[in-house]
Amino acid sequence: MKQDSAIRLILLGLAMSSVAALAVITLFIFREGLPIIFRQGPGSFLFGSDWDPGAEPAAFGIFAMIAGTFAVTGGALLLGVPVGLGSAIFLSEFAPRKVATILKPALELLAGIPSVVFGYIGMLVLSPFIRDHIGGSGASVLAGSAILGIMILPTIISISMDTLRSVPRSYREGSFALGATGWQTTWKVTLPAARSGLVAAVILGMGRAVGETMAVIMVTGNTALVPKSPLSPARTLTANIAMQLNAAVGEHREALFACGVVLFVIIMVLNTFANWVAKLGKRA
């Protein structure tokens, strides 16, 4: 029995590794990034419109990047949510079993394609297309949103499908027995029953879009201005960090970690919210 409790302790130690990793990551990012936020004042850091680390004195206001992040993410959701939910509903409710067992893993392959490859395609195909046929310089919120919209599909599809499949068969059978069509059943019975899981899927997809880096750098033009239209270029928080980390020393570097802090907080809020929504559904 002694051996058993020793093993239990060791395993518990291993199991705490992810919690410990999370704690150490949080600690280091905050330790590097928080001082400058408070030195400058959270208000002027978050809502300052001027990001100019090269100026004397340097200006670190990240409002344009926050706006850029949400603009690109919002666009990505506009594209990714209908397509993602649509595919998930189709595959779980209507598609013949064989089709679904082939298509679901195929769509999940999208998640495996490296973001640099998405970015490259965006850079070589999508942004020139936007410039020639829609307008602007091509490097734009629209290009970023389109690429991200595709990139978040696997997240949305696989979580939504799992949720939809967990809706008990009897719900659907009851509806069919009342003479409802397949779509009526889906719309009136299955979707409401799966609502919270679907919302969680969308929020997690949003988290993925907010955190994406390399693909965005390559297509959005990285202008540190609040975008005025979908055709304006924009810079996201992630792009700001990745593009300048290599050139940054001193205060500039601290400011980039401060961007990391903001990004971290946004992601944590989204994840916690998604977790909470998903739990609500399970309880109901």
Binding site: G13, A15, S17, A20, A242
Partner: protein, 266 residues
Amino acid sequence: MRNLVVVFCVVAGMTGLGGCGGKASSNKLTLAGSTAFTPVAQKLADAFKAKHAGVTIDIQSVGSGVGIKNVNDGIADVGMADLPEIPEEAKALKAFSVSRDGIAVVVHPSNGVTSLSMEQVAKIFSGEITNWKDVGGADAEITVICRATGSGSRVTFDTLVKIKGKVTRSAQEQSSNGACRGEVAKNPKAISYVTFVQVDASVKALKLGGVDPKIETVKDGKYGIAAIDYLLTKGEPTGLAKEFIDFVMGAEGQKIILDCGLAPVK
């Protein structure tokens, strides 16, 4: 807590292993710095290694500022920086200027403009001039593309072009010379700047105040925008670092630099 101990044991153990391949060996040289100078440094390193069997040279392309910091911190043996002059934070280092690297102002090949004055360039990048027709081109809005803040090329360009005030806030930013060229190659309304090495048929390099962007004009000082490429060491270079710098400054190294499209100092 226990797992932290485990993790640290693993880390410590592997660090010991890692150490052997790190600084300890005397036949390994680590260069770090300017992304623009990296391809040239790679060529120099290849030629140097051909003459010194068993030597390895690692080149980290991390940007001039970080390169200087790494040498200060002892993470790199030799720093590479392309800047208009030695910056304050590198004053304590030993600096060797090995070449001058012209920065070309580039536009799309279809752009009718072939020459700009230094003043016009400054006004375009500061956002005072926003339409190509104001500098003799077609009626189209100018897309300004510049390098990320902190890059050596950006510092050199902003300093030597004497951009009054700031670079326009609507400028797009790219993290490397190659990315700047790539964007200009795709966008007929764009203007950007890249080092001479990066100029190819996909973009058009403009005359600057009537002076052709060529190695000769950089060498005699007529061409206005050129960075000085520095190799930096902490204290007098010794051992492999010294041999490498001597090689770069010697006839063979300077020839390679010239072949790469840079103006040698000798």
